[in-house]
Subunit: 355 residues, 2 copies
């Protein structure tokens, strides 16, 4: 176990979107500086980072300069090229570690790994071609969802197969990428647990939140989730088990389906998670600070919930409602500093407390 | 009344200390960028600002470049040279305005102005030389405190006169600067009100906090203050009256003495205030965001208190206690990113919630 980072140390963040932005702010609260590595200019995280290194993930010299300018490295998205990680890891610790990234970068690997841990997941089968899809549909049945194994987010890279006649179109939508067929699950709701594991192995989970999606994008997270105490406890135990099995350091998001037969793991995200944004106004220490504490080797903070919260994402032209939202009582606004409010683009969120 | 600033606009902040740092973070939450004007390098605010313009307040070209790069200007300290303000104001609005600065920069002007408003203050008299001090002591009596009229903070520029024999030493401690003699007030406690006035003239005040000082430096603020409902209401009314009389825009800190004869105004600070740091963990919208909202011409946020809080400053070698403090429950840590923990230097604070 290494020494905790001292205030004044620099934490390197791969990726400069809104998650990197809110991680930077949390790092500043603990006296850390941040350096953001992000190919795009004027990115959300750059506005609050001490330094923005603008370079591509294939720029080895830039990666080395970045690694040498920081004391520990973390990331805000899981699809970081393996070659970049190899370069970085030779110079500074990456937290969470490579295992979590390797597993969560590929839906097939992830589902197999979760099953190996004894956790329930939706029925699935790998699909590389039409023949594979046909036999997968035979086994799993339809309706089902065909998803690219890698690089999917916010419903992108997914195609629904309602009847077998949709199969060809769905496969074409994968653009030749390796895919996975997932059976539809009869679930009453989706919940998620934001868990953190410290460098010392201690685990702390925030209360489970209940998620509503629209058009494949998270719309709203409500805490507490309206599930029984037993279900909430199970969800936290599952998240803890995943964190420990991965020898994980940092925050991990675990999405779960509540079904008549118990909880199914939908997916895991090895990073701070949109469904954990409510913690900013429901807890003394939010998911961003928990992550920074873990990455810095600090003790985890107190993430117990002091208020009921409904988090609503502000997507695309939701921004037109800004004048009204900014005047609301019992509401806290969080904007990401993005320019154009394109359809489907996450521009910010609002946390409303109710208890 | 001008239009509210749109997200993506830049707010210029004069001064790069911890107050500028926390203002920058609050600005980012609302989607604003910040540019910090500060002569010192590696200052606390620079770590989270979009841009740090490092130049002196006598550098006219830099002041103009700064003003032209931002949409509105605010400040984190009141002792900004008048000549610099003249340059800036020709290019962009400064909020709060010049009147509040002019009055609060000079203890004598401030006390006279407060008296003119019908508010009670401690007995006072201007002191320019030994003759003036002698006649002031005749009028006010001792013990009393001799203070420089300008540039005092955290107990600096003050000398206590217990008996007339201390007078000469006290005057020498002023280093020839114009001074003011203030009579000692028989007060049971000091409280403060953090009030905000929007560009639309609306006023919102946070709950009064109770302050404890050590060695002339704020040590602890407790909310709610243990005063009667009537005293709390009076305090808020006094703050509101000051805000309105100044046609103020932004956050103002008002320190008050609770005495048997009612509330006395100790001093006002035309900026976010150390005794308002508790709002970060006691309210949905804290003093920093209220200030940014006002400066940006936005509606004020909901500053109602959801928790009881004790804010403790971390000063100098209090930082040695960091390992223990960082592991506390029901506590939120806020560090300022300063290097050396010199005696008397404010390094951070911790908010502890208790209700």
């Amino acid at each position: 176990m290494t020494d905790p980072l001292k205030p004044g140390s620099t934490i390197g963040i791969l990726g400069g979107g809104q998650l990197g932005r809110m991680l930077s702010v949390a790092a500043s609260r603990l006296g850390f500086k941040t350096c953001v590595f992000e190919p795009g200019g004027d990115c959300p995280a750059s506005h609050v980072a001490n330094f923005h290194l603008q370079a591509g993930f294939d720029d080895e010299a830039a990666l080395i300069a970045f690694a040498e300018s920081v004391d520990a490295i973390t990331f805000e998205f899981e699809n970081i090229p393996t070659a970049a990680l190899d370069v970085l890891e030779a110079h500074r610790p990456i937290r969470p570690g490579r295992d979590a990234l390797r597993i969560s970068q590929d839906r097939l690997t992830e589902k197999e790994w979760l099953e190996g841990l004894g956790l329930k997941v939706a029925p699935f089968a790998p699909v590389d071609d039409m023949q594979g899809l046909t036999s997968a549909l035979d086994r799993i049945g339809s309706p089902a969802i065909l998803k690219t194994r890698r690089f999917g987010y916010d419903g992108k890279g997914q195609a629904r197969i309602a009847a077998d006649t949709d199969a060809e179109a769905a496969l074409e939508a994968m653009n030749g990428a390796p895919a996975i067929l997932e059976g539809m699950v009869d679930f009453s709701k989706e919940i998620s647990v934001i868990g953190t594991r410290g460098l010392d192995g201690r685990v702390a989970c925030f209360d489970p939140g209940e998620n509503q999606h629209e058009g494949g994008i998270l719309r709203r997270t409500t805490v507490p989730a309206s599930v029984s105490h037993g279900v909430a406890t199970d969800a936290v135990l599952i998240a803890s088990r995943i964190l420990t099995a991965l020898d994980y350091v940092g925050v991990l998001g675990v999405e779960l389906f509540v079904t008549p037969g118990g909880l199914l793991v939908n997916e895991i995200a090895p990073r701070v998670h949109n469904s954990g944004h409510w913690t900013q106004n429901g807890c003394m220490v939010d998911q961003f600070e928990q992550h920074i504490r873990a990455v810095a080797g600090w003790p985890l903070g107190d993430g117990s919930r002091h208020s009921d919260v409904v988090m609503e994402n502000l997507i695309g032209d939701d921004m037109d409602r800004l004048p009204a939202i900014s005047a609301e009582g019992r509401a806290a606004l969080h904007l990401y500093g993005k320019g154009e409010a394109r359809p489907g683009r996450k521009m910010g969120h609002v946390n409303r407390i109710s208890g």
